[in-house]
């Protein structure tokens, strides 16, 4: 892609105006945009709009039990923001495993989502937290559930020239239990082999609400609704954790690639959710 125009507006309305009627690409941290440009994985665009100066897209905030990640919130923000560390530590745990520190300084959560990759690390924890994506375009604003936003391999429900303005999710509460695991071939700068996120709201030992999701084992990261249902309303023991883990593996449709075989991934889709559920709820696992 060569010979495009470039603008760097400071408000959302100016951004949408600049995009109106022109084939547009948005750039923020650039950690996907520029490698795509170099490897020519991108389609043509008449104008590239820099979002980095749009102040309304910045910041992480919390009000009335809802946490809002502005579209420009970076992975480093997730590691340092007090609201996240206190109320949704799973996102900090994810960020710690995301690429390396200099990529984390620029890579945004919204960019990770809209890139649509099956191994997008921010997505499984956000699915488990039941996140929603806020979108804006010239035609208006809308909110889409994250699991409905991801429609396939590198495909999302985003419309032409539409922009993610924020990602929101209800705070899972101070006493929620959680677990995150990124299975990969090295500790940093790795593409995930299997990613698992578990968020459990527990009251009087019963799991009231469960969020379980997998990354890198389907065309786009998915929520495991069956597994969630198995846990919800129950005092979970090893047997139920095992059943839920099997339900996770049942929805995984992994492929063979250079990082791991489909067979291994499928097996890990059972082992890792069981381990995370048991660790989160202090259930002893005799067989491990």
């Amino acid at each position: 892609m060569r010979g495009f125009d470039f603008v760097a507006p400071t408000t959302i309305s100016a951004t949408l105006k600049a995009a109106k009627g022109r084939s547009t690409k948005y750039i923020a941290g650039g950690t996907n945009f520029l490698p795509d440009l170099r490897h020519q994985h991108d389609g043509p665009a008449k104008v590239v709009i820099d979002l980095m100066r749009v102040s309304a897209l910045q910041g992480i905030s919390s009000s009335k039990g809802q946490i809002k990640l502005g579209a420009l919130a970076t992975m480093t923000d997730l590691l340092t923001n007090k609201t996240i560390l206190k109320e949704a530590p799973i996102l900090a745990a994810m960020s710690e495993k995301f690429a390396g520190p200099i990529i984390r300084n620029r890579a945004t959560v919204a960019g990770n989502i809209v890139d649509g990759g099956p191994a997008a690390d921010a997505v499984p924890p956000l699915l488990a937290l039941r996140a929603k994506v806020r979108l804006a375009s010239e035609k208006g604003r809308r909110t889409v559930d994250l699991d409905k936003f991801l429609t396939g391999y590198r495909q999302t429900a985003i419309r032409s020239n539409e922009l993610i303005t924020a990602v929101t999710f209800p705070s899972p509460g101070r006493n929620h239990k959680w677990g995150y695991y990124k299975l990969a071939r090295r500790n940093a700068m790795a593409i995930t082999v299997v990613g698992v996120a578990v968020v459990l709201k527990v009251r009087r030992k019963k799991v009231e609400e469960a969020g379980i999701s997998l990354g890198s084992v389907t065309a786009a990261p998915i929520r495991c609704y069956e597994a969630e249902k198995i846990l919800e309303g129950n005092v979970v023991n090893l047997e139920l954790a095992q059943k839920a883990a099997e339900a996770c593996a049942a929805v995984a449709t992994p492929i063979d690639d250079i990082r791991a075989s489909a067979e291994y991934r499928k097996l890990m889709c059972e082992v890792l959710p069981r381990r995370l559920i048991c660790q989160a709820l202090d259930i002893s696992q005799d067989n491990e």
Partner: protein
């Protein structure tokens, strides 16, 4: 590969006339020095800096994998290959030469020399900038934290042990200096 040969065949007869891309004005500061230039919008910050003579910013992978082009943008470490040059408008950039000069080396640079943490030297500018940010945020890192802090900066000589030693020693020197200053 099939597409490559196809484009070769069609190119000769009907190549469109070359239109040079429009250049945009860009101004920013590098190591405190104001710079004004112009470049097409697709120019990466890495190419822009190197073309301006800041060749201490190394070109490794151009995909955010190797960290050779690590710079500080408004104090935050990033890969220069992962930004468009035009995105740097009005920003402050620090390269390894802004951290310390040949006549007045920064303690991190001194320790890299003392510990033999420089082999071929290609990763060194990025590695030192990454180490600077790490020590700014965490003045007394453990060896594990140093390893995590320079993840994303690759040394193809694999001289990591000496690099980690050097960063560990610079942390000690910097914190002892700070203690004396107080």
């Amino acid at each position: 590969m099939a597409t490559a040969s196809k484009s070769k065949r069609t190119k000769k007869s009907s190549a469109p006339a070359y239109v040079p891309p429009k250049k945009l004005p860009i101004s920013f500061t590098v190591n405190g020095q104001e710079v004004s230039t112009e470049a097409p919008a697709h120019t990466t910050l890495l190419y822009l800096l190197r073309d301006l003579g800041f060749t201490e910013v190394k070109n490794g992978c151009e995909a955010g994998d190797c960290g050779a082009c690590t710079i500080l943008l408004d104090g935050l470490a990033m890969n220069a290959c992962c930004a468009l040059g035009v995105q740097a408008e009005g920003r402050e950039i620090t390269t390894v030469k802004g951290i310390g000069t040949v006549d007045n080396l920064h303690p991190i640079q001194n320790k890299f020399i003392e510990h033999g943490a420089i082999q071929c030297g290609f990763c060194t500018p990025g590695m030192i900038v990454a180490a600077k940010e790490l020590l700014d945020n965490n003045p007394n890192p453990s060896r594990q934290e140093i390893k995590a802090g320079i993840a994303g900066n690759l040394c193809r000589c694999t001289g990591y042990v000496k690099i980690i030693d050097a960063i560990e020693a610079s942390a000690e020197e910097l914190s002892s200096k700070k203690g004396k200053g107080k």
